[in-house]
Symmetry: C2
Subunit: 213 residues, 2 copies
DNA sequence: CATTGCTATGAACGCTGTTCATGAAACCTT
DNA sequence: AAGGTTTCATGAACAGCGTTCATAGCAATG
């Protein structure tokens, strides 16, 4: 582009630009994730196109494949952000000092609210599939722990009879059940509850499950 | 459509060949659905290709678009078959004369068994999405009633307090909850239960839900 | 038999994700 | 400061996809 051959100021510029390689790389990666996130939120998974993402990120088409292995990996990074936001929403939802069953209901309601408020990004979490051969990276798998991290503690209070292992399993089941109700309802096509009754149905489900045994 | 003015043998021949147009058309449609079903069961939704389906069905590429509007509609017809088989499996599973809670557990278990035994075809029921603008045809929507048709009667016995409307809603919720557990488990990636514990977790879920109120 | 309406055909089109040769820029060594 | 090396940005090219369309052929009709 242009060479900087000068004095004095030169060093200052050198300091600022020293990590140029990594910095520009991370910059581009973030711009790509930003663009993909916007695209995904607006058009959904099927509307995510490499050419549109790179155009919006301000790089050439091939630049995407320098920053990420492929489009799938880019989606995984967008999902990582969504999971982080969802995790924060769930943590914020737990009323401190409340009874365990109240905490459970608050968590379920927060999940419904997040799904409704981030429909396409939330859908991408569960609709996206990697090709058959490739297995999911560990950093992506472990990011899903936020989905059940807040469930286990109040459930432990409600079900002291469960072993630690059974507690985790039951937490997953509880999440999956709530998730199923929300997903089929938001899908809107089949046998889901109408939107205005999701919350009450989920509440009934959570109440039944937590009172169990 | 056509006038029948004739005698004797003529009529017999007419009977055999009269529907040639429709017959060949239906023949091709069925061959295409057969091929798509096989493809879908073997490779999943992402592995369904127009060229491979038409090759296996023994027609040219364009023939698919004479028989169906597009690939999506073909998937819908495959799903229709899967729903019919699933409905039969559920009906067969209900033990006649048993207690309502037993019926519920049997239904849930039959659903798990079907999903495990028809993983990719079952997954296609819920993974497939029509493009944004087009809305789902009615014949396809109504075919999904088999998913909850067997749930409502035993649930009505367990919950006589529910109105007819609430009963249907709760049936949908119960199905959705069970489905969520099965789906996230078979997905295998995230927070699902291990395969060998699906049945017990689903049973716990159903027991909790049916005992509810 | 002639005509008319359907249907079978596969080349062509537009769009997709991904690769690759090229050239330039940043880093490292001396 | 200069040369050598690694890294990255670029966009044309490629292979694959679903879908369309002009053409040809066949079945039904009068």
């Amino acid at each position: 582009m242009f060479k900087i051959i000068m004095n004095g100021v030169h060093e200052t510029i050198e300091m600022e630009t020293r990590n140029n390689r990594e910095q520009q790389r991370d910059d581009l990666r973030n711009r790509l994730i930003d663009a993909a996130e916007a695209q995904l939120a607006a058009e959904g998974l099927a509307g995510l196109k490499a050419r549109e993402v790179t155009a919006q990120a301000g790089c050439a088409l091939g630049g995407l494949y320098n920053a990420f292995d492929d489009l799938d990996r880019l989606v995984l990074h967008v999902n990582l952000r969504t999971l982080a936001r969802l995790g924060q929403a769930l943590r914020d939802a737990v009323p401190i000092g409340a009874a365990a069953d109240r905490k459970m209901l608050a968590l379920a309601q927060a999940y419904v609210t997040f799904a409704l408020g981030n429909r396409k990004l939330w859908a991408a979490l569960f609709d996206h599939r990697l090709p058959d051969g490739v297995e999911t990276p560990d950093w992506y798998l472990s990011a899903h722990s936020v989905l059940i991290a807040e469930i286990a503690p109040p459930l432990a209070a409600l079900r002291p009879d469960l072993s630690k292992e059974d507690l985790m399993l039951r937490s997953k089941t509880l999440f999956a059940a709530v998730h199923g109700v929300v997903q089929l309802s938001l899908q809107g096509r089949f046998i889901g509850a109408p939107l205005e009754r999701i919350e009450s149905e989920v509440a009934a489900l959570v109440t039944a499950m937590t009172r169990g045994l």
